[in-house]
Subunit: 454 residues, 2 copies
């Protein structure tokens, strides 16, 4: 006998938790589709030489390789042939480069699949997790207007997920780099300063200031102060965001370009009718070092800042330079749903949902079995999700089962109902019970389900 | 520069093929849910000692193992710690045993995920493919009525997939083994005979007959004839199925038990209103050797018998004996959707679908941009999937783009429409074009989409 258990670092859910998770996945997918994004799925494994062309040391150490028994036996010194994807961005780059001539650009795709990272085992850290990505990829160029469509999608997703108030925050790498230029911080030092400012949340202002004026960086105290003041800029509301950008004044050409891009994005969001309390500028956002080149996004839950960003991304200049000579600029975001779901559950915001089953068709006596089957089939044709009780049981037991399983309605036909051509329907959510004509049963149920949704 | 390419043995689709595939997946999932099955997902990898407890040599040779870089470096002589699932049945057994005390029995789950097998590379053979499984698992016992619910689900799935006429065929292992008993074939020899009869489709009757009477088996010619005659039994229609089962006469207790079980299943299917041309008995079906113990199912497309079974399964006595002392009998089926999709595409039955985007909101002049954004958002609120054209282009180019992308409707507001509070809508499927008041646009589109669905 082997003890049944999952490997460490994976999230496996009981059915009702899985239903709650699935509803979130479905909402994200429907919203992505409502903005015209097309579905893409890629294989879980890529050829190692294709997948690892772009990654540095840290990522590569986290990659899982896959080998069949035969390959294990023949294994030489090189890397195994197959590696599991560790994000959806490298597979997207490979996909777009491989199918370039079959795709229409701008190419708008969503991809919702699991990715794999050999993280150190730790609470809330997962080795297998869902990413829900959208990207718009241009050929040669991509209109900056797409920069504003992305936060409109984020907005729609989190409104529909209804997990609390949220703020989509953005910054612009050109604004940042232009600001550095203006302070005389150039080249490699920009990356180092950026990396340091990215630690503000974790280390706090004092520690970061000390590092900036310390031996390694050697910045003047006044320069450090200006960097920190810049990083403190956050807006509240649409007009405040515009005012704060205006208050930055003029800078280098790059600086002005970044600022004007943010202004255009803000205006477009307003034209799309996005609630203005849902977006803000936050000039402390940097998002890593070398990938993003334009706007960058982070999204936080207002009541749970400690969860950190729940949806991040930005604009990049060239998606697939390792695979094609074509220039493919893009903009996109990713939601790490497994970790988010885990955090929301820890915070008590999501939990077990109602069952995905709408109706339990009960069975009171064996003579009613064929009848219960026909009733079940009839309700299915009407679009309901129906479980049929296959064995006659006491009525109290059947209600108890439905209640524990989170099934809202029970439908029953005893001898009386069968003789009278009726069915007894019970709504376990409020105890309402009715005996109605057979051909109105589906309507009775549909009306109550609709009420709940509204 | 690395050549972008996928590993051999995977199926990667272009967006419009992916949309067609996704529709099939969604149909299967919705149908599974309409019969009250609950969703389960398991991690792609299991601990090797947990996954491989049950498998024989052939399967184990096909298993993929996963290792992070760190694990590769430390690798000893034993098997790697993690292995990718090669089906959804072993993970189900592990899941039910692990979560036994948190599940309600009979436990009805569906699971739609990819599985991995190191198959020899070959056209139409996949190393990564979707399985779409349902199972009902009982604790200690499982009512035989579930045996008939499974083909009702299969029936609903393939009616809705609308890929042509199909026949769900079944046999019963007790009938088979009881028939062998009656011929004096006992114990291990039953398995050998079963394996031989399973080759009838591939080898033909003459070759199988020769083997049965040959040295290894040494069956009497008359016994071989009776085995072959039994295997030839197939029914057409409900009454014919009952008549053919009755014509088998009486046999051993096991034989009679199997026959009566098939009769009960047939009667239940009739009570559920399943079209009788869609199911039949076929006494040649054996489905492997040691797993199934009761009813077994196969489903074929009437016009494409060469595709073989597109949905198979059956009843088993004990799901998880390697993981728990509890007795967990069950019944279930699996659809291998990746291979099925590939075959349907080869046969020209499925192909590229219409886009998942319903409407392209075009842009005729830059002054109309904010207006196009607002129109897009309004249509989204009405439940439509909308792509917004971000750059003003010639009208012919925009129609051409929508047409090539498979987007059915284009919505446009030029200067005239903006002044008049109207919008011009075009249905590319028939050329119909109308200029309507802004607040009726969504209704105009919805009416035409509904028409198409009906």
């Amino acid at each position: 006998m082997i003890k049944p258990r999952t490997p460490p670092g994976v999230m496996e859910l009981l059915p009702r938790e899985q239903i709650a998770f699935q509803r979130m996945l479905d909402t994200i997918r429907q919203t992505y589709e409502s903005f015209g994004f097309l579905p893409v799925e890629t294989p879980v494994f890529e050829l190692s030489d294709v997948l690892l062309t772009k990654t540095g040391g840290e990522t590569e150490r986290q990659v899982y390789f896959a080998q069949s028994t035969g390959a294990l036996e023949k294994a030489g010194d090189g890397l195994p042939e197959l590696a599991l994807r560790f994000d959806l961005t490298v597979p997207l780059a490979r996909y777009v480069a491989e199918h370039e001539h079959d795709l229409a650009f701008p190419f708008r795709r969503y991809q919702i699949q699991r990715v794999y990272r050999g993280e150190r085992a730790q609470r809330g850290r997962f080795r297998e997790f869902y990413q829900c990505d959208i990207d718009v990829i241009g050929k040669d160029a991509l209109n900056p207007r797409y920069d504003a469509e992305i936060p409109a999608v984020i907005h729609a997703v989190f409104e529909k997920l209804a997990i609390g108030d949220f703020t989509i925050q953005f910054n612009h790498r050109k604004l940042l780099r232009g600001f550095f230029e203006g302070l005389g911080i150039e080249g490699m030092q920009q990356d180092l300063v950026l990396r340091e400012l990215d630690k503000l949340d974790k280390r706090g202002e004092d520690a970061v200031r000390a590092t900036l004026v310390g031996e390694g960086f050697g910045l003047a105290a006044e320069v450090a102060e200006r960097l920190l003041a810049f990083s403190r800029v956050r807006s509240e509301g649409h007009d405040d965001a515009l005012a704060r950008l205006a208050a930055l004044g003029e800078g280098t050409a790059l600086f002005n370009e970044g600022r004007d891009a943010l202004v255009a994005t803000l205006q477009q969001l307003k034209a799309m009718g996005i609630t203005e309390s849902r977006y803000a500028i936050n000039l402390s956002i940097a998002r890593g070092l070398d990938y993003y080149t334009g706007i960058v996004y982070e999204t936080t839950l207002d009541a749970y800042p400690q969860i950190g960003s729940i949806c991040s991304g930005g604009r990049y200049d060239d998606l697939a330079s390792h695979y094609t000579k074509s220039k493919l600029p893009g903009v996109g975001i990713s939601i790490g749903l497994t970790r988010l779901f885990w955090q929301l559950r820890e915070a008590g915001i999501v939990g077990v949902d109602a069952s995905s089953v709408d109706v339990l068709v009960g069975l009171l006596d064996e003579a009613g079995f064929d009848d219960a089957l026909a009733l079940s089939q009839g309700l299915r044709v009407a679009g309901l999700r129906v479980e049929t009780q296959m064995e006659a049981k006491k009525i109290a037991k059947q209600f108890q089962y439905a209640d524990r399983a989170g099934i809202r309605f029970v439908a029953l036909r005893g001898e009386g109902e069968r003789t009278g051509g009726t069915v007894t329907l019970k709504d376990l959510s409020n105890g309402e019970q009715d005996t109605v004509a057979m051909d109105t049963a589906a309507d009775w149920l549909a009306a109550r389900m609709k009420e709940r949704q509204a």
